[in-house]
Structure formats: C-alpha cells, structure tokens
C-alpha cells in the first residue's frame, strides 16, 4: 500500500520558508514598481516588478517542496469558481441590462461600460476554452 502514500518529505518549516521567499520576491517587485513610479523611473520599476513576479513563479515551480497542498488547491478552485460565477452574473445581467437602460434613455453609458463588458466576454471565452480543454483531457 505504500505506493499510495503522499510524499513525506515536505516539512512545514521548508514550505513556510519557500512561501516566504516566493511572496517576498513578489512584494519586493511591487515595492520596486512603486518606488520606480515615485522617482520617475517607471521602466526600471516595471522591469524589477516583472523580475519579482518571475522570481515568485520560479520559486513556486522549482522549489524542492510542494508549496501548496491539496486543500490549498481545493480552496483556490472554489474561490475561482465563485469569482467566475460573480462575473458571469455581472456579464449575463449587466450587458443587456445596461444596453436596455441606454436605449430607454434612462442612463448614458460611459465607454468604460463597454470596455468592462468586452473584458468579461473575453474572460468567458477563455473560461469556455479551458473548460473544453479539460473536459476532453479528463
């Protein structure tokens, strides 16, 4: 039965340490971006921000321990689903509702409304594509 055993090499202290490094790199990147904006060195700030984000991704990908366990993944999945549901309702109800209000002359929709609706549409398309991909893979 030992082939079913979850790897026992991940010590909590290691996981915490690597998580701190990963989030520390991202935090340093964000700080560098703020400083870059404040000191009018925007390009340098963005480069350092990207470096921080990339560093975080590399630590998460290549750290010798798993930074997240199955419960973390389940929580993230549930949070993603809730987020998608919230934005799906915003899109499904908001797009026609906003247009109806505009047509009836109740409100004058700003350009940002159309930008937001196109963004939600793009997110829905990506979600649908991901869903199909995993449906046919699983």
């Amino acid at each position: 039965m030992s082939e079913h055993t979850t790897p026992a090499t991940t010590r909590p202290s290691d996981r915490k340490r690597y998580k701190r490094i990963a989030y520390g790199l991202l935090g340093a990147g964000i700080l560098a971006l703020w400083i870059g904006i404040a000191t009018d060195r925007f390009v340098l700030g963005v480069l350092l921000y990207w470096a921080g984000g990339l560093g975080m991704g590399l630590v998460q990908r290549f750290s010798p321990v798993d930074l997240y366990d199955e419960r973390d993944t389940t929580i993230e999945r549930k949070a993603s689903l809730t987020t998608m549901n919230v934005f799906a309702y915003l899109f499904i109800l908001g797009a026609p509702g906003g247009l109806a209000l505009q047509e009836s002359g109740t409100v004058e929709l700003p350009d940002e409304f159309y930008g937001a609706m196109w963004t939600l549409f793009a997110v829905s398309v990506v979600f649908g594509a991901s869903l199909l991909y995993y449906k046919y893979r699983t």
């Binding site: 039965m1 079913h4 055993t5 979850t6 991940t10 996981r15 199955e70």
Partner: protein, 67 residues
C-alpha cells in the same frame, strides 16, 4: 466526513504538525479533516491509512450526506 484521526493521533502521541509532515500536507489540512470541514483526496486518505496501519474505512465513516 466523520473520522477518528484525532483519537488515533492521541493514541500515538502525535501532534497535528507531526502527522501533517508524515503525510505531506499542512497542519491546517489535518485540522480541517479532523473537524470534518474538508474531505481528503483518495491519495491522502490512503496515506493516512498507511500511516495508521489500517484501512481507509477504519479511519473514515461516511454519513448519508457524504454518499
């Protein structure tokens, strides 16, 4: 899902952190399983059963709601 992990852990004198390290998850995950707020994956359930040297059905007792 109802389980007796905390009782078995008490028998062996292990802390949640000890058990978590042994099966490769976080202490919070063990805590959530013991409080019946999280159902482990099949892989983790096998890992826990291996750890306590018993069968999965000895550890977990699904209620009608779980089925």
């Amino acid at each position: 899902m109802r389980n007796d992990i905390s009782e078995r852990r008490a028998e062996t004198g292990e802390s949640q952190a000890d058990l978590a390290a042994a099966v490769g998850v976080t202490r919070q995950t063990i805590n959530a399983i013991e409080r019946e707020r999280y159902d482990p994956s099949l892989e983790l359930a096998f890992g826990l059963a291996d750890h306590f040297d018993c069968r999965i059905e000895d550890l977990f007792d699904p209620t009608e709601e779980d089925r």
